[in-house]
């Protein structure tokens, strides 16, 4: 995110009254331009992706929570800022958080004096969600349960041990990957209280501003309790502005303002050419938004595939100068970062000091080394002074290293002849009260960087040749979707399916949560895939091996005892998951006890048995959310409720019971929950240590459960018991080993990054989609299928400019003792023994597989391994330079 300031034209004195103008005077970069006005630009584009996001619900109008009146009632978004180290209280949790740290107004000053570290904080869930009494948001916002748990944990971490955190909730909804464990840890490890109730009222002690909460507990008792702060877990809302623009764009919305989509095209709006992503699609958290983003890119790209590469531009490449063997001529550039560094560090003195260091040919100070003119000056200096190593003392390489490396490349230097040292974050920011010491430290840092840069060598980046065909393992919804998108954009794609037909588990489903018929659309998709010229479908086929790395995979496949080989560049793992076979509730002992998928089958074939049923019971969490399988299977609540509604619709007189732990109809599925209750479906809650009991007495089937409202055991006589069984991963260790991708404890694949890389693996060239990642409904599986295709496309599109990093390990074969530690210890299997040539038997590192982590370098007893760019002698010289006293 660019940390850039902007002028608010409604308040700015210069713009409104033509006074002030201070910012223009003080801005050292002359970035202020008051004359800028609104411009209208017309753009012609092939597709639109509409990703307007949401606004946090505004709870001011809720008088029962008194957000507008009590200073210690705040929203979760405000609390987020309070927890943040860059926020108004610098991460310190305090009461009256909304007041400035040093208030000027007398009234605020008095309040601020009452500030204290809170001892008790309460979170109220479902503020602006699942609520049609106070607001018109009947849906579940999907993210608040998790963020409240997170905020409570972090608040406790910030405050130390004695903070008491309570979360007041209706259902805990933690159906995401690793979420249930996080929730369990919050209870068990962090001691956070979870109280299932809706708070009746909040009052304030006018003197202390402490807050009193009144609610009814599980046993029907009225409880009064005092808290220092209340955090309202506000929901996600689509703004009026977004709704208006949607109308202008001509796209259909649901009654709640979310975009209407089809489960089989979950990122396509009702208007041709407009794709949507993010919360606007449905309330969702970050990883799902990230999946949406890539999925929308895939959908937009599919529509424009013939126009690909028509408008993009490429950068001209400058010939690299050979500096090998030359004496180092170092250029040192010291950045003021405006006053960020110069305000503390005497940059002039540092620059002068740099000039005295060995091999430094030239040193220069600039106000903003990263600005465009400073960059072009740098290129000129490099050429003019014939510099061959560059040191930049500025901010963090994390954000700016690529920029400076590009500058080096523009002046013909290899981009690794470069060393950056951070005299801002590591120095001027932390030592702002000790300018002398900071200046001294800046000199030390520059000296160390110069010592290291003097030994820098140009590094080669190996070109990776990419075979541009793709193998998709698994021909279910996710796999087919992924293959279809890749094939549409012109890549030859193979689907490997172990069954005799495409479609996977989706064949067993009746309807989606949105009410669409699964089989019709599934068969359409299968037909499209089979008829696509770029897709080769291999049914009854299994993957027997996989060797190689990104762009260069090779597999043996087995089909009807015949083996064949396939070479490909990209792999998508979409192996899905399967239904758990229950081992409790008398399953298998009575034909009236079935699973959710069995019921779907009955609906599909319109089984006449359905007409004879007068009472039906569903038991939720069968095999989920218990110690041996601690995750939530995500789809079962919605699935059972959907089926319950179906039963009620067929026979309104039927008694339908759902025995549940938490109802997790996240997003707009909440509307189904509401519908089910309206239709008279009865919901009975149970605790995991008090599971319902099923007994078969003669011809009758009984379910005994303790009713949470009556707090008494009830016995239901039923004609049908449906078990909402867990979705269990295939735990395919063989496949995981083939592609060197990890599985979590439960057997689901571990993605590259829980938030930002949900459709790919850390192993480059291998992508992930579908329930092998985590259980998911139809639309989410398809979204991830598309997302994995989009991620794969970015790799395939760059195939001619794909290079390894220069910072990788390499072997000095003369020193190698062939002991094999490196081969054993490398997590990426990059080192191996040479099989031919002069150094046969010695270790060598595959530059494509090496990630430059240095593990092998550290473990090599013989000193044969070196990390290019961070060679031992460079590190040593840096350390010795530190030891030198100025």
């Amino acid at each position: 995110m660019p940390l850039k300031y902007a002028i608010n034209p409604d308040i700015c004195l210069k713009l409104t009254k033509d006074k002030c103008g201070t910012c223009e005077e003080v801005c050292p970069a002359n970035a202020i331009d008051y004359t800028q006005t609104e411009e209208h630009i017309t753009i012609n584009a092939g597709s639109i992706i509409y990703s307007p996001g949401f606004t946090p619900f505004d709870p001011s109008k809720f008088d029962n929570y008194q957000y507008a009146n009590f200073p210690n009632v705040i929203t979760s978004m405000e609390f987020e800022r309070i927890l943040s180290a860059t926020g108004p209280t610098m991460g310190h949790v305090t009461t009256f958080p909304k007041l400035p740290l040093n208030p000027k107004k007398k009234k605020d000053k008095l309040l601020a004096q009452k500030r204290k570290d809170p001892k008790k904080i309460a979170w109220f869930q479902c503020v602006g969600s699942r609520d049609i009494n106070k607001c018109d948001n009947p849906y579940c916002s999907s993210v608040c349960c998790m963020y409240a748990v997170k905020e409570a944990i972090i608040a406790k971490e910030h405050a130390g041990g004695d903070l008491d955190c309570s979360i007041f909730y209706m259902d805990m909804r933690t159906p995401g990957k690793e979420f249930e464990k996080y929730y369990e840890n919050a209870k068990d490890k962090h001691g956070i209280n979870f109280i299932r109730t809706k708070v009746h009222s909040v009052t304030e002690n006018p003197e202390t501003h402490d807050l009193n909460i009144r609610y009814v507990d599980d046993f029907g008792q009225i409880v009064d309790d005092t808290y220092d702060m209340i955090v309202l877990s506000v929901g996600l809302e689509i703004s009026e502005e977004t709704k208006a623009l949607s109308e202008k764009l001509g796209i259909d919305l649901t009654s709640n303002g979310f975009c209407k989509t089809n489960s089989f095209e979950p990122v396509t709006s009702s208007r041709d050419g407009i794709y949507i992503s993010g919360v606007f699609n449905n309330p969702k958290d970050i990883p799902d938004s990230v999946l949406d983003a890539s999925a929308a890119a895939s959908a937009a790209g599919d529509a424009l595939s013939s126009a690909r590469d028509t408008l993009t531009k490429s950068v001209e490449k400058i010939e690299e100068i050979n500096v090998v063997g030359e004496r180092p001529r170092i250029g040192a550039f010291i950045c003021d970062c405006g006053s960020n560094i110069k305000g503390v560090v005497d940059c002039e003195a540092v620059t002068e000091y740099a000039k005295t260091l060995p091999y430094v040919e030239f040193a220069d100070e600039s106000m903003y080394a990263c600005s465009q003119d400073a960059q072009s000056k740098m290129v000129d200096f490099i050429k003019e002074k014939n510099l061959n190593r560059i040191v930049i003392a500025a901010c963090t390489p994390k954000t700016h290293e690529p920029l400076f490396q590009e500058t080096l490349a523009n002046s013909g230097l290899n981009k690794y002849l470069f060393e950056m040292t951070n005299i801002r974050n590591h120095n001027s920011w932390v030592h702002k009260n000790n300018p002398d010491i900071a200046t001294q430290k800046a000199k030390d840092l520059v000296r160390m960087a110069v010592a290291k840069a003097a030994l820098a060598e140009p590094l080669k980046e190996e070109k990776i040749n990419v075979n541009d065909s793709v193998v998709v393992v698994g021909g279910g919804l996710a796999g087919m979707t992924s293959a279809k998108s890749l094939a549409t954009q012109g890549y030859s794609t193979h689907i490997i399916e172990k069954n005799n037909q495409l479609g996977g588990e989706a064949h067993k489903l009746y309807k989606t949560a949105q009410g669409e018929d699964v089989q019709t659309q599934l068969n359409e998709l299968i037909k499209e895939v089979e008829n696509n010229d770029n897709i080769t479908v291999h049914c009854n086929t299994t993957l027997e091996s996989a060797d190689g790395f990104v762009g260069n995979f090779k597999s043996t496949l087995k089909s009807d005892d015949k083996e064949f080989e396939l070479e490909y560049g990209i792999a998508v793992l979409a192996t899905g998951a399967k239904a758990f076979v229950p081992d409790e509730y008398e399953y298998g002992n009575d034909e009236r006890i079935i699973t959710s998928l069995d019921l779907d089958k009955m609906f599909k074939v319109n089984d006449t048995k359905l007409d004879t049923i007068n009472s039906a019971v569903f038991i939720q969490c069968v095999g989920s959310r218990q110690p041996d399988r601690p995750y939530c299977s995500r789809v079962c609540c919605t699935h059972s409720i959907d089926n319950a509604i179906e039963l009620k619709k067929r026979n309104p007189k039927m008694n339908v019971f759902i025995i549940y732990r938490d109802i997790r109809t996240y997003g707009e599925s909440e509307l189904l929950y509401k519908e089910a209750r309206n239709l008279g479906v009865i919901f009975i809650r149970y605790e995991v240590d008090k599971k319902p009991e099923v007994t078969i007495k003669g011809k009758n089937l009984f379910i005994k459960v303790t009713d949470h409202v009556l707090n008494m055991p009830v016995e239901i006589k039923t004609d049908m018991l449906t078990l909402a069984t867990a979705i269990v991963p295939r735990k395919d260790e063989k496949l995981a080993n083939f592609f060197k991708v990890p599985l979590n404890d439960e057997g689901f694949f571990i993605e590259k990054h829980a938030k930002l890389g949900p459709a790919e693996f850390a192993t480059s060239g291998v992508f992930l989609a579908g329930s092998g990642h985590y259980p998911k409904p139809v639309n989410e599986a398809i979204t991830q299928g598309r997302a994995s295709a989009s991620r794969a496309l970015t790799l395939l599109a760059k195939k001619d400019s794909l290079f390894t990093s220069g910072i990788i390990a390499n072997v000095d074969p003369l020193k190698c003792s062939e002991c094999g530690v490196c081969v054993s210890i490398c997590p990426y299997s990059a080192p191996m023994f040479a099989t031919e040539g002069r150094f046969e038997g010695k270790a060598e590192v595959n530059p494509v597989l090496c990630k430059g982590c240095g593990l092998c370098v550290a473990s090599c007893r013989s000193g044969a391994l070196h990390l290019r760019g961070f060679d031992t002698n460079q590190i040593f010289s840096q350390i010795f330079a530190l030891g030198e006293v100025v």
Binding site: A45, M77, S298
Partner: protein, 59 residues
């Protein structure tokens, strides 16, 4: 209809989802216009402290 396809995409909204859509498209051969009504991109995620369940920094 025989209209020439245009190889560019407008992305409206510079939150996490919009930004990543734009990046994916730009990296796979399409020209992208990213439109954001506020002064900087990043959206709501940039205002968050940490993210669950890994407690990674949201920035």
């Amino acid at each position: 209809m025989n209209k020439q396809l245009i190889g560019s995409v407008v992305v409206i909204g510079g939150g996490i989802s919009g930004m990543l859509s734009a990046l994916d498209l730009a990296n796979s051969g399409y020209y992208v216009y990213l439109v954001e009504k506020g002064p900087s991109i990043g959206g709501v995620m940039a205002q968050l402290d940490k993210t669950f369940p890994t407690n990674d920094c949201a920035m």
